[in-house]
């Protein structure tokens, strides 16, 4: 009886430890996602807290074999890394931050960099006339960091909307794949799966 109780306690402890470490492994990823949320929809970061637990729970409580879990985990994580690379590029290409001297970090959603298809005609003319080479200088030229200005003076509204939407979709997809990948990985290394493997 005592031996059985000790075994159950050990088993429970192992499961608890496993779950704790699996969930804690999400923290570095979460803090990364918090720092690069799409500026057009910053409230999305609030969804991350609940989202992490929901996705993790969904994956973790499924019962495929350890091999299946590991396969799915590697696919999800590889996909997340690929999407994160695309997101990182697009994030810097389609957003702009205030001048460094102001020590402010909130980025603003704009269109597709200095691409001619995305810029308004007047912005193209001003950029050429004054040799403005960066998005930040264009923002300054039009006073777009101000109260009464908006980025649609510089970028075509549809391109700002498209860039913002792309960022949100990519952000969600990357986040989903990343958390799912870690969930599947935790599932693969679950104590019950190890027992099955033996």
């Amino acid at each position: 009886m005592n031996a059985r109780l000790a075994e159950e306690v050990n088993s429970g402890g192992a499961r608890l430890g496993h779950l704790s470490s699996s969930l804690l492994s999400q923290l570095p990823g979460l803090s990364f996602f918090l720092g690069v949320a799409p500026p057009a929809f910053p409230a999305i970061t609030l969804l991350l807290f609940g989202g992490t637990l929901t996705i993790f729970f969904l994956k973790f409580t499924k019962r495929p074999s350890a091999v299946d879990c590991a396969r799915k985990a590697s696919r999800c994580i590889a996909g997340a890394i690929a999407l994160a690379a695309i997101y990182g590029f697009l994030f810097h290409y389609t957003t702009v931050e205030p001048p460094a001297i102001r020590n402010e970090s909130a980025r603003i959603q704009v269109g597709f960099g200095l691409s001619t298809f995305s810029l308004q005609g007047k912005a193209l003319k001003i950029a050429e006339q004054h040799h403005l080479a960066t998005k930040q200088e264009l923002m300054l030229a039009f006073g777009a960091y101000g109260d009464d200005a908006n980025t649609s003076l510089i970028w075509k509204p549809w391109s700002v909307l498209l860039a913002g939407s792309l960022l949100i979709v990519l952000f969600c997809a990357t986040y989903w794949l990343w958390v799912s990948g870690l969930g599947w990985l935790a599932c693969a290394s679950r104590p019950s799966n190890k027992v099955k493997a033996k």
Binding site: F49, I101, H130, L138, A141, G146
Partner: protein, 184 residues
Amino acid sequence: MLASESSTLSRLARAMSALLIVLPQPAASFAGPSAKSLSDISPAAVGADLQSRGIDLSNGRGPQSLRDAMIAYSFVAGNGANLSANNGEILSTILKLNAAFGQTALESHVSVQTGTTGARIHYQLIGRDDTRQMNELTNRAEDDISIGLYYVWAERNGHPTSPKDAVFRIIQARTTLQLEEHKP
């Protein structure tokens, strides 16, 4: 087995929720009070913090919405002693002030000087067509304007007395410009 794991997971979820509160928060909006002032939220401290960021609310300067919210907050909070009171009025003014911080733009307090006093200062963003002028003449001409690239020139008797195509980069929280005038 599944029920046991679910129960453990729900306990862990509660612990994680508490833990996540202490995670780094997303970047703050541009002009809210800085972290160092969070321990002191009396109206005087908030005003001083805004001034250090280039937002001067004295003498009717600064964005109207923020001025209104600051006046309401100062009225309710007094010298800060009332802040401990837990009433809806204080909470309401704090929420309005907080909302006004979010709407505040990045501004610079600009002072313009000329060799001789009495010139009217005009300025215009290089990408826009609307021209504005400062209320006071030099050398008391100053204004809070959005950061940007500006044409700034002086006029006397309606005639420009400094180059109208001189571009100034106004980015810092406080900027002083010295204009060289020629005879009109």
